[in-house]
Symmetry: C2
Subunit: 457 residues, 2 copies
């Protein structure tokens, strides 16, 4: 059979780095998603762009699906293999290739994780700012157009990828973009591949913008009596143009889960967690202005994390909130919603979501990158209980519908994958057909991550 | 004949807003470019998206080229009609549709100019930051991915367009993007259309990000003994992460032209023109830091423009530099180069360019948005003198080749049009074929601005 021929060819190419072992297939069928396992038929571990190109030529010749795999932290099933096929795991392509200190950019392979990259950058005085919380791979972050806590200041992967090397479905290798800070030289292919979730090609190299480590940093957490007061403070802060490095909301239910998980004793009310970057004077001025806004909205209990280790603890607590919330109901499945709305509609969106959750019978702590208008409800349900499954699905559906009605998006940063497919038509209308047209032009046999992002069937 | 049938249909649709008058054809065959006139066969002035869609259905049915036209300020021939066809002039679609103050965004029609938009925004405390100098139309700025003096702080059109309405070649109307600050919902079609120079569709509406008018603004001009000292000061400034709102370089030859044009008496040495935005304290701090950098590089003659009218005069002088330089040799043609290089290579790129110009026998004042690594030589030549024509072409060629060798781009902000077509293969390699594939997928009959950006023949 044709798939067997292809696997033989992959074995010849990669030896033991092509495998069909049951445990590896099973492992690559999963990620940090609520979807059940969907394993590939084979897993390969390329070490070079040339090997990726050879893999794609083989799969193209045999019409076999190809699914890119980074750190497995995607939440919408992007890395799963619903139609089987060959999973390309980039863990062996994890080198930092070139740090250009003077130009504040870096070239990396896709398998390097953001923590590993920043560890390697530490001594240079530079850092890569995009921070989705999970220790994702840079290639995966580009593929899903990830962002996270720092996007309010430094932008998303869309804003921080300067150039790419991509292998197309037919094995051709292209380079998009340059190391110049800006360009008007034709179609923005870099931007097209960022966020395309491996459906147009596999990213084999990325050039990223870096930032200088700020002269001064301050971080703090502060509490509010109500969610609406906290969100009102966020809206004022953004509208005033305060250059927040981070401004994160966690509701009382999230605080409870975080306390239980990390042993902290934060009062059980809604909180904002913030960070300021700048000069000593600038940070002091920002902090004063923000403090005034918080006071105007009845915020209290400002707790400043002044030492670097205190800041690390604060953000590690925030980054672990997802795991803390999951652990608050052992054995439950977590459906993580991801809507993003215009900031003027944020309070309304959060209030209505909280009311929906309160009426639903399941737990759904809320937290998010509210400076961008982006927040998550982490809906915890027992996947053996049909009523809870239905509740979670209905809540998620209502959130997305509300976001679209408010001029927002179904997904601020997690992407489409399998999980948001049902909303592409509603969000994009005929523009979704245009995405399909582009997809078919670049991957006519539909071997690149089939089943994701585009209309099916 | 088929074109006559199409023109009859356009006349039925638009009445006197479809014209073949010789003067209007002639006028629309020109723009602020060095290319000779290339007039269309007809000019139409739509008033609505529905009319644009109807125009495209007619042109599509008859296989007639369609060329978008804004303010005619493009420099690479983007708005010209080398294959004739129908020029769609957007001057009647020039309304500001909706200012969303709380969300700091605005929806506009493509024909509004940046100056008209900012005049309408003035009372709101918001402004649209992208400033290419010329009073371009917003639709044209998006189509060429324009930027200019403020990109170093606020980004290019790529960074400032949130959403688009686009009419495709076949008359379909799509909407890309949302009013949310970020999204991961599928391919970034907004980014694909921005910079596509009307070769994929016509933009009929844009949603733009706005900025709050800064609490404090300061601007200044300062002189240096040599270009290399000025550029070294720029590189230090950028590498230090100083959030410059503007940092512009003009060489001694540009200063001479500006003095002659505007009656100013700036010393005939290289200068930097800078602007700072922020809080009162922040601006003071930035200005002090910058002043120290300038002093370290031997800069002198700091002249602060403290009153708003002084700042306006300063930037108006900068914006008119192109016209001043053209006027410095009456009757000459100006070929405006536009390379952008990694900042670490900027001094080398400018030095080598100046040496080339000095040896060429023609004048080529240099100025540019050096904070991005982007600069222009305005090459003045007599188009009746074959030796000068050849000199200008050779200088431009060497600049582009040098930029590409340095990891930069042929065009930082002016785009490809007709003028940089010859460098697409060198800059993009096989990625240029991918652009062609996308183009053919969306415009198989090649009616959208044919002759530009893509491989010809």
């Amino acid at each position: 059979m044709t798939r067997q021929t292809a696997f033989d060819a992959l074995n010849s190419l990669l030896g033991q780095r092509a495998t069909r072992s049951k445990s590896e297939l099973e492992q690559h069928g999963r990620s940090e998603t609520h979807f059940p396992a969907m394993p590939p038929d084979a897993v390969v571990y390329p070490k070079s762009t040339a090997e990726v190109a050879a893999i794609l030529r083989i799969c193209s010749a045999h019409g076999i699906p190809v699914i890119g795999y980074g750190a497995g932290t995607s939440l919408e099933g992007q890395a799963q293999s619903p139609q089987g096929g060959v999973c390309v795991d980039f863990r062996l392509m994890n080198r930092v290739l070139q740090i250009n200190h003077a130009d504040m950019d870096v070239s990396v392979q896709p398998g390097v994780t953001r923590e590993a990259l920043n560890a390697e950058l530490r001594a240079t005085g530079l850092f890569f700012p995009v921070d989705p919380g999970a220790n994702a791979s840079i290639g995966g972050m580009a593929s899903t157009r990830a962002s996270g806590t720092t996007a309010v200041r430094y932008g998303t992967m869309r804003d921080n990828v300067l150039a790419l090397e991509v292998v197309l479905a037919d094995g051709r290798v292209i380079r998009t973009g340059t190391r110049a800070r800006k360009t008007s030289a034709g179609y923005d292919l870099t931007g097209l591949f960022v966020g395309s979730e491996g459906t147009l090609g596999l990213i084999t190299e990325l050039t990223l913008r870096l930032q200088g480590q700020p002269e001064a940093t301050a971080a703090a957490i502060c509490g509010f009596d109500s969610m609406s007061q906290a969100v009102a403070a966020v809206i004022d802060t953004i509208q005033m143009g305060l250059p927040m490095a981070r401004i994160e909301f966690i509701d009382a239910a999230s605080v409870a889960a975080v306390n239980a998980w990390s042993g902290s004793t934060i009062p059980l009310t809604p909180h904002l967690m913030v960070e300021f970057h700048g000069s000593e004077t600038g940070v002091r001025e920002q902090a004063e202005t923000f403090g005034q806004i918080v006071a105007d909205h009845g915020g209290t209990g400002f707790d400043w994390a002044t030492r670097p280790e205190d800041r690390s603890a604060l953000w590690s607590m925030r980054h672990n909130a997802y795991y803390a919330i999951k652990a608050s109901r052992p054995g439950s499945v977590a459906l993580v919603t991801d809507i993003c709305v215009p900031i003027s509609r944020l309070a309304e969106a959060v209030t209505e979501t909280q009311a929906d959750i309160a009426a639903s019978g399941i737990a759904g702590p809320i937290l998010g990158h509210v400076g961008d208008g982006n927040f998550h409800a982490i809906l915890l349900y027992d996947d053996q209980n049909p009523a809870e499954v239905a509740s979670a699905a209905a809540l998620s559906h209502r959130m997305v519908t509300r976001a679209l009605d408010m001029g927002g998006t179904a997904t601020g940063e997690h992407g489409i994958g399998l999980g948001k497919l049902a909303y592409m038509q509603a969000e994009h209308g005929e523009a979704w057909d245009v995405m399909q047209t582009l997809k078919m032009a670049l991957d006519p046999a539909n071997i690149m991550n089939p089943g994701k992002l585009l209309r099916q069937g």
